[in-house]
């Protein structure tokens, strides 16, 4: 049977960890794109290559163990193989790991009944040979009636033969795995696979794997956790410190561009929109790329080597009680640097409920953008005193803020565990793949595509909100007329200023005045903008000058009572507010991107604002 050779659509299938992704990368090179299956968060990777001047489309399907979906996302991804599906592939290339052909052929046996021509790629023969397993691929080809190709996805061996098989005469599998069309006969399938493998497999003495030697150490009650803490420390330090240099570079680059535009363009609203709206918004997007790239580089290594599933294995019992998964650890810890790459990293959590809870609570971890806010406020609230002679009170308070964030995260996770309903079955039946050295090419592609999809999808939202915030801060109503617009040099007279005054009655119970109200609005762009807004309001020229802002803020007194406005109660209330409030549009944009629903970012904004308000109210009244 021949199919139309041009416009050939080829689907890659197989179990997780079968080497499918490596094969996909080898075949397509950089000619690939990631798109979401409409209405889902499941990504579909497709790419193309040319063969005999024909452009061949290659679709990467998710690695699963069965054609029967175990989650809503899998259901959407596997729909492709439903009989008579409009996008059904012309050929399925099934990748199977030679070390464990029995289980890998189970999913194969289900696909083989879909009446689609197939090619079987037997992968990782080098590892199986080292284990003493020999596969007679010629015999397998005869038994199945479809081309069987030996590949080494890691080294890119067997690609030519694979392409030839895809484009040669096409065959459907004629080995029958079940008597009837009933798909439920799992035992019968395995029995038929067994009798097939008896003809093609020869197993000599089994050598102990490297994995079997190293696993007792990595899952050891003491060494296991110590090594994991060490790994986390390296990852976290890298995201935090390594990213700093490129981030400063990006920021000063955008500053330069902004200043250049200020010099070139005439002073009008277009210049202001370009510099303060668009350039500032773009900077707010691009500045996150170093952290995203670094985190995904390390996550890629952990996932690709097989270490991540051991992390789940040793952390499962501890985190299960919190409604989280063993895989939630990395996003949560990364949240201390920045919630954006952290939330993107939750894709590794297979269970829907675990993933949603992790996304919802991660922004409560004290991220690096809170640091400038805390620094300014602590310097106002606390004198330079030392506890026991050596411990700085300021440092203690800062530590307390990080602890409060962590406690908030854990408590919120436990509460969400009871609120959110489980969408899919919650079980921990998971393969622990054998260790292998990281495939740098795959990791490189992953870092690239994650950064790109962040810029493309979250970037749009961030840019739009930046422009809106720019408008609110630069324009205000004409005096006495509510529905009019005029440019304003003074933040007080802008819409942002009006907003501050309008919400003043609402924020008075937590000790905030209208000036703080303005900062609450503007720092929605990013928490550290609070410092900049405060310096604008108090007309401090250099916004980096914390000491001057501090002086101005400390000097301000209530016109009626003549007491300092920034009393201990107000400052502590502000700090608690910033610890819990969802003051970050970029995070909300990423949550929207990751959940593909407006519902979750709204719930997150709602619960965090409520939590912040109530906590600030309590703190303000306690210290008043």
């Amino acid at each position: 049977m021949k199919v139309n050779r041009s416009n050939l659509v080829v689907a890659l299938s197989g179990n997780p960890n079968c080497g499918k992704t490596s094969l996909f990368n080898h075949l397509t090179g950089l000619q690939q794109k990631i798109s979401n299956i409409p209405g889902t968060t499941i990504e579909r990777k497709s790419g193309w290559y040319t063969y005999d001047n024909d452009k061949i489309q290659l679709i990467d399907t998710p690695g699963t163990y069965s054609i029967k979906p175990k989650s809503k996302d899998e259901e959407a991804a596997l729909e492709l193989f439903q009989p008579n599906h409009s996008e059904a592939p012309d050929v399925i290339v099934y990748v199977a790991d030679a070390q464990n052909l029995k289980r890998h052929l189970f999913y194969f046996s289900q696909l083989a009944e879909r009446n689609i021509p197939m090619v079987l790629a037997i992968n990782m023969l080098d590892i199986s040979k080292a284990q003493g397993i020999e596969v007679n691929t010629n015999r397998l080809q005869k038994e199945l009636g479809i081309p069987v190709v030996e590949t080494n996805a890691r080294k890119g061996i067997g690609l030519t033969q694979l392409k030839e098989a895809i484009h040669g005469q096409q065959f459907k599998c004629h080995y029958s795995f079940t008597d009837t069309s009933d798909n439920d006969q799992i035992i019968q399938r395995y029995n038929r696979i067994d009798s097939l493998l008896e003809k093609v497999l020869t197993q000599k003495t089994k050598n102990a794997l490297f994995t079997e030697k190293i696993d007792p150490i990595l899952t050891h009650p003491v060494w296991g956790y110590l090594i994991f803490i060490g790994v986390l420390l390296v990852v976290f330090q890298s995201v935090f410190m390594l990213a700093e240099y490129p981030m400063t570079l990006i920021e000063s680059g955008f500053d330069l561009a902004g200043n250049a535009l200020l010099d070139i363009l005439p002073n009008n609203w277009i210049r202001s929109l370009l510099v303060n709206g668009i350039v500032a918004g773009l900077a707010g997007v691009v500045v996150f790329i170093p952290q995203i790239a670094i985190l995904f580089f390390f996550m890629g290594i952990m996932e690709d080597t097989g270490y991540m599933s051991r992390v789940s294995f040793i952390m499962d019992k501890i985190l299960r009680g919190l409604g989280l998964s063993g895989k939630s650890v990395v996003p949560l810890i990364s949240g201390v640097a920045c919630a954006i790459p952290a939330i993107m990293a939750t894709r590794n959590i297979e269970n829907w409920k675990d993933r949603i809870i992790t996304i919802l609570v991660t922004p409560l971890m004290s991220c690096s953008a809170r640091l400038p806010v805390y620094t300014l406020l602590i310097s106002i609230a606390v004198p330079d005193t030392y506890v026991l002679g050596v411990i700085s009170l300021k440092g203690l308070l800062l530590l307390a803020m990080y602890l409060i964030g962590t406690i908030g995260t854990v408590v919120a996770a436990v509460i969400f565990k009871f609120i959110i309903k489980q969408k899919s079955l919650n079980y921990f039946i998971m393969e622990l793949p054998i260790y292998h050295s990281p495939r740098w090419k795959n990791i490189g592609y992953q870092v690239w595509s994650k950064s790109l999809s962040f810029v493309k999808e979250a970037g749009k939202v961030i840019l739009i909100v930046s422009v809106v915030l720019w408008f609110l801060a630069s324009y205000g109503p004409k005096s006495e007329k509510a529905f009019s617009i005029q440019e304003t040099q003074n933040l007080e007279e802008s819409y942002a200023g009006k907003f501050g005054k309008v919400i003043e009655p609402a924020i008075k119970p937590i000790g905030f005045n209208w000036k703080i109200g303005i900062a609450l609005l503007t720092s929605f762009a990013a928490r550290e903008v609070f410092v900049g807004t405060m310096s604008t309001i108090y007309s401090v020229d250099d916004e980096e000058d914390v000491i001057n802002i501090r002086k101005e803020m400390m000097a301000e007194r209530d016109p009626i009572t003549n007491k300092p406005v920034y009393s201990l109660a107000v400052v502590l209330s502000l700090m608690i507010f910033y610890a819990f409030a969802m003051q970050c549009m970029s995070t909300l944009a990423v949550v929207y991107k990751e959940t593909k629903s407006i519902k979750w970012p709204l719930i997150q904004l709602g619960y965090m604002t409520a939590l912040a308000y109530v906590s600030s109210f309590i703190v303000f009244n306690l210290f008043r």
Partner: protein, 78 residues
């Protein structure tokens, strides 16, 4: 005997799975009657467990393993 009760390193043979929500998942992963299974690792807090199932490593919680019925593997020499 239940899979959740077996000792480390002893080769067992699966005889059946009690009805449970994840029975299909277990069977698809290769937990079918006659398959040989050995407990190879216990996570630090005593849960989950990791097994060698027909040559690959499968982990599950104790609460899941108790649905799988096993007996000692007799034909060890084969």
């Amino acid at each position: 005997m239940l899979l959740s009760e077996i000792d480390l390193g002893v080769k067992m043979s699966i005889t059946g799975i009690e009805p449970c929500a994840f029975k299909e998942k277990l069977m698809e992963m290769g937990c079918i009657p006659g398959a040989s299974i050995t407990l190879t690792m216990i996570a630090p807090m005593g849960d989950p467990l990791a097994f060698n199932l027909e040559g690959y490593c499968l982990s599950m919680r104790r609460s899941e393993a108790k649905y799988i019925i096993v007996e000692p593997k007799l034909d060890e020499g084969k």
